[in-house]
Amino acid sequence: MGRGWSQQKRERTAVVFTAVLVCVAYFVGSRVGDALRFMPLITSVMWPPNAILTATLLLAPPRRWWIYILAVFPAHYFGQPADRGLLLVLLLFLTNWSEALIAAISVRAFSGSPTRFDTLRRMAGFIAGAVVLAPFLSSFADAAVVSLFRGEPYGMVWRVRFFSNVLTELALVPAILLAITRGPAWFRSALPRRRLEAVAVMVAPVFVWSVIFESMDGWHAFRASPALPLAFLLPSLLWSAVRFGTGGTSLSLLVTIILATSATAQGRGPLTTVPGEGILGLQIFLTLVGIPLMCLAAVIEERGQAQEAVREQLRFEQLLARLSSSFVHLPGEALQEASETWAGRLGESLRLDEVALHRLSRNPLDFVVVSAWTAPGLPPRPPCTSRDVPWIAEQLRNERVVAIERPEEMPAKAARDVETFRRKEIRSCLSLPLVSGGRLVGALTFITIRSERAWSQELVQRLELVGEVFANAFAQKEAQDALRASEVMKSAILGSLSSGVAVLDRDGRIVAVNDSWARLTPEWEAFGVQVEADDNHVSAAWTAGVDGVAAAREATVGIAAVLNGSRDSFAFEYAAGPPAAARWLALSAVPLKGPEGGAVVSHTDVTERKRAEMEAQRSRQELAHFTRVSTMGELTASLAHELNQPLTAILANAKAAQRFLDHTSPDLGEIREILSDIVDDDRRAGEVIQRLREFLRKGDADFSPLDMNGLLRDVVKLVASDAVIRNVTLALDLGPEATAVNGDRVQLQQLILNLLLNAMEAVAEASPEKRVVTIRSRIEERVVHLEVQDTGPGLQEGVADVIFEPFYTTKAAGMGMGLSIARSIVEAHGGKIRAANNAAGGASFHVVIPLVSATRT
């Protein structure tokens, strides 16, 4: 409130001061007017007070007009000769200010800027309203008053008053207005040469009147044509019109009018034939010359302004072009320096005091200073932050342009902004939001401190173009930074991988590798392939393939398939380096999704995993062997029986033969039969031993085509005695078809043996006649189905899924490995095993193994 109050007070003081000033000017004007009077006429040749009042009303806002009209009354009253009555004075005052009022109202109606005369249109408006219409109308009243009170002829009074007021308005009003509005600035900025010229153009009419016209009586030419001397007035007037615009012209005209009037009034000069008529002639002459002159000056000024505007625009466009070109391919790191340089250039070219460039940071969302420039001669200060000018920052965040000519223009809620402006002595400010791709990226701010600046729409539009350049540069920098960050992250990730990664283009050429690639490359060399960065991965692998490294050939085909899109991915493992298979590497290739195509190939050292796998394989084999041995332990009794049978037969036969030979006439035929039987039995015992040995053989898997039915029969023989001992009936139900599978004999025997022993165990508790184990085989859809069915108690509910897990057992003495091994054997043969209860009781184990023709060799 305090600020508003003091401001109001200041304004009031200014009004009072102006009123006094106008009053004084009015008084002086009326004295001058009196001096330029042809006695006995009451009307002056020139009457400045009306023009002074007109100029005041054009300058002042209409709501204060009454103040100035009242203020000049004392001047009017005291300026009048003492012999005039109060009524006359009052009436004349009325006619005078009515003229000023008409002039001010009509000029304001014609022109948006009543104090400017820099276009032909404005000048025409001024001439029509203030110069012609106002004197024309007011002179009727004035002539009436004068003729009524003083008996002077109406027509002559009107005519004299009209022309004198036309001339006064024409010369004085622009002179006063321009002297007040533009004079001080002109004096400050004008060069000495120009000032000298101004003085010369003002002195020229004085020279004409005091030198030429004084001595013209002696000039023959003047006497021959009396109008010729008037031509001497034209050069200085035209000079001022061409060189000094409307302001200079009006002053020059004023000087000429004063000189001409005073000389003519004193009976000197070229227009002195009839005193009154000479003045009228002079008035008409000066009016006819003055109006076109003023128009000419306005046109020239308008042209000059247009030229200046074009030049200004050109200069700005050059600036903009240079700005754009220097920012268009600007690397991100150079943005800072370039923006500082350009903030300065913009500031200098636009005659500003400060230019600041802010970037909008994302987190937190705030404006951060990028660069700031301060005009030379001013102390550099830190640019405003969002906290200093919250209202402006808010406007910018909403992508609105903020143009402030005076701090007082800001709304009440911008109190903090106004406070900051006052503290920093900021007079005018223009802030532009920088928007790129529909996204706010920053702000560009122009500030004046030493003077106020009106931000014309044109200027704002131009500066918005500048803003666009900065906005694009910011957006580009952001994109570059983001790209660089993603590059850094990518290379950090790639660098941290222990796998060697290479990026291939669509032709298989290596375009990028990570550090691990270089480390793994020696492995490749050992493997027979030499792949360096920039090499063609596919052709290198192919070359190695041609040279006989089978894995390289496989890699070639696989990678090429990924590159041409026929495969989604490719992976395989290979051994590398001497000694053979010292290292294991896994290769994988995946396509690069994108228009360019290509693939990412990685090599991973999987030696440790491979070793562990092989270790596990060995452990499995050892465990399998151990269980075979222990299985044999279970079969000892029946094996003993198996061997005892032929041995018993052999011994009995041999002893019988001995006895027969002791007889007197031994039957040699019988002896021959005996020996034949002994040989058979011996062979039979040998077979048992052979089967046993095979079964207990220790070693790696050896896959070869086998007849499944033959295997089943062998194993059944192995457990036949056991079945007899346990009183279990083994029923074979083998399909008639050939059952060739690719497998390891020992493993498959173990599988069948485990299933048979398991089944025989299951039926142990049943009554002897119900102890039946049925072994079936059949072929269906290129697989062999084996089934071992028992008549035992069946599986408990939920057990079917877990019985194949290691160490699952229901037997007191069992290890729980039998079925687990059975499953791993089946899976190693590419088959499946499952267990289920039979509808009629007991359980069935079902094994499926692919036929040899159906498996990969």
Binding site: T648, N653, R659
Partner: protein, 134 residues
Amino acid sequence: MSTGEATVFVVDDDASVRRGLERLLRSAGHQVATFASAREFLDRNLVAGPCCLVLDVRMPGVSGLELQEKLTALECDVPVIFITGNGDIPMVVRAMKAGAVDFLAKPFDDQELLDAVDQALGRTRPRRSGRDLH
């Protein structure tokens, strides 16, 4: 030497063992009849006169011990010599208690069997010759 009319019956599921034992017993002068199973022996109904039975313990179907029990039940007092590939003590005890003459583990010495047969035949006193065993 053995008496001419005495017969040694051999019951064993293994053909070659049967043939070997038959030859051995024949070489010692015994009259021999062989059977592949207990059922076959029972079906033939031959127990008459001096005779003895050489019986395999484990056989599919009716085992040796079961046959012995059946004969006892039929009051057929034929002396029995058990032969087995893998006899255990409970089995031997059971057989001997049931009146077995001897229990021989395969492979056995020829003399052992012949002695056992002689012993058995010397003891043979069929209560009812020609009796239908069924």
